[in-house]
Amino acid sequence: MVHDLYQETILDHSKRPRNYHAMDDANRHADGYNPLCGDKLKLFLRMEGDIVQDASFIGAGCAISTSSASLMTESVKGKTRDEALQLLEKFHELLTTDVSVSKDLGKLVVFCGVRDYPARVKCATLAWHTLKNALTQAAEPATTE
């Protein structure tokens, strides 16, 4: 019943988010905000050249947005900027289209249930919108609107 959305991995990452801390030596930051539900997060990246060496976040949100941020930071570590942006595209496709699930997504496939809950898609994408801003260094906070 609700387990198609709240899969074990999602519940686990929402209760024990990974990479949940501020980062002193970050060289990229971005803020994400979903005005609809008040979810807020602050993302930290340490880039070395083109590569995301480390990623972390702090903030408050629902189970979907917190677990998404947690899994996102895990997924992008070690990736190049372009690889991370490509992953974002694939993740967005997973949530919003009926295309078959790409195997490149790894653990992120646990979010496939979100596509059946249109009202919750923004919860899952907040961290990724914020990542895009951090990688492209936009000045404004990312919003889901």
Binding site: Y6, C37, D39, A60, G61, C62, A63, C123
Partner: protein
């Protein structure tokens, strides 16, 4: 265990029979019978309202106020009959004091755009309260910005009650308007609006009351309140969306400039000069929401037949029962515990976000609202990003409260 059981809730009318009047309630959602607890967002419509709108489109459809033909006369009579019905519903002195608008939001904007633009000057003050819906904040903010006037806010206490001593201190000779909600949509607080209006008048100010959440739940008498303006929305009182009412005292309405220009709001138009129509038509430019107006009339008729006092008494029992049952749930905190309350059970649960609560309840067929309820300052005051809100109407039952409680236990299980 609860000292109250669901059987202790006694309705002064047959609730099961009332539920039969609401076709939307007879469905399952995600395989479960629908438990609709979001009436503060919009109320469901009884068959008589649906039928009235359908009858208009099938039988009487014509434009109003200008045709000499039979259909136009019928539609005009039906539409204007609603105005007469609203007069009885609010106990206004005259039906000329009732302006059809799209809803409460437009009603408030009409006042700021006409009365406000004409009367507010630099340095004037407008008072609102800490528990207003955005629709009773933003129009006043826009007016204050335009006129270089000052917006002041009556604070509230931790129960979600306005602090009247602080209100008294805010009033001064520069106060022109006090605009407060009768019942808070996010907290359920019933404000002492009669006293608020009296104090405003004593200070030489006018008072506008946002009645969007009061009119579905209690009898309102604008003359007894001595309100200068009173606004409500049709869709919250069992009527359709896109129709609402602004009540204004006739002398005030007559002195106000028109709102929008166009047909129906005029007497004579030449290229040199236009003579405006009398109130209330002066404020009603263009073809209105005729079907919506007729539907609203049917809705008010339905409520008045049941008696607003009976509805209030029944919902009060439901609210007390719901308050007690929810309070028993460990980790649940009610937001808004005013001593005078109507219709709303707003709450947060430790470590579980309202959106997750809302989704899991929805899977059990239970419709609640989650979010900031268009009252972000209220959320900031209680230091929560959002709440889950179960809101009640005359067609809800104690058994549905039990289902909500069971649903919340299920939510806690998922996140345990």
């Amino acid at each position: 265990m609860s000292t109250l059981s669901s059987t202790a809730v006694n309705a002064p009318f047959d609730v099961e029979k009332i539920r039969e009047d609401f076709p939307v309630l007879k469905q399952t959602v995600h395989g479960k019978p629908l438990v609709y607890l979001d009436s503060a967002a919009t109320a469901q419509k009884p068959q008589v309202v649906i039928d009235a709108i359908r009858h208009f489109h099938e039988v009487d459809c014509a434009n109003i106020h200008r045709g000499v033909h039979e259909l136009s006369q019928r539609s005009t009579a039906a539409y204007e009959e609603t105005r007469a019905q609203v007069r009885r519903f609010l106990h206004a002195k005259s039906k000329d004091e009732l302006i059809f608008v799209r809803g409460t939001t437009e009603a408030i904007n009409l006042v700021t755009a006409t009365w406000g633009r004409k009367n507010i000057q630099a340095g004037d003050e407008i008072i609102i309260s800490a528990m207003e819906h955005h629709s009773n904040i933003v129009p006043w903010q826009m007016l204050c910005e335009e006129k270089d006037a000052k917006l002041r806010v009556i604070p509230m206490n931790d129960r979600g009650e306005l602090i009247m001593e602080e209100y008294a201190k805010l009033l001064n000779p520069r106060t022109r308007m006090v605009a407060v909600t009768h019942v808070s949509n996010a907290l359920g607080t019933i404000n002492p609006v009669r006293e608020i209006i009296q104090m405003a008048h004593k200070a030489g100010a006018l008072a506008l009351i946002d009645g969007a959440q009061s009119t579905p739940h209690m009898k309102v008498d604008v003359q007894a309140l001595d309100a200068d303006f009173y606004a409500f929305s049709g869709h919250k009182v069992l009527g359709p969306t896109g129709i609402g009412i602004l009540y204004g005292k006739k002398n005030l309405l007559e002195a106000m400039p028109p709102y929008q220009g166009g047909g129906d709001m005029i007497k004579v138009v030449t290229f040199e000069k236009t003579t405006y129509n009398d109130v209330p038509y002066k404020f009603e430019a263009g073809t209105p929401n005729i079907a919506g107006g007729i539907g609203l009339g049917a809705a008010l008729n339905y409520i008045m037949k049941l008696s607003a006092d009976h509805i209030a008494a029944y919902e009060h029992q439901l609210l007390e029962y719901g308050t007690e049952r929810l309070s028993e749930i460990p980790g649940l905190r009610l937001i808004g515990t005013a001593r005078q309350k109507a219709g709303v059970l707003s709450f947060v649960i430790e470590d579980i976000h309202p959106h997750d609560i809302g989704t899991i309840l929805d899977k059990q067929g239970i419709a609640v609202r989650t979010g900031h309820h268009c009252a972000q300052p209220v959320m900031d005051f209680f230091h929560v990003p959002a709440t889950t809100r179960a809101s009640l109407a005359l067609y809800n039952t104690a058994a549905e409260i039990d289902q909500l409680v069971a649903g919340i236990h299920k939510v806690k299980e998922v996140f345990s």
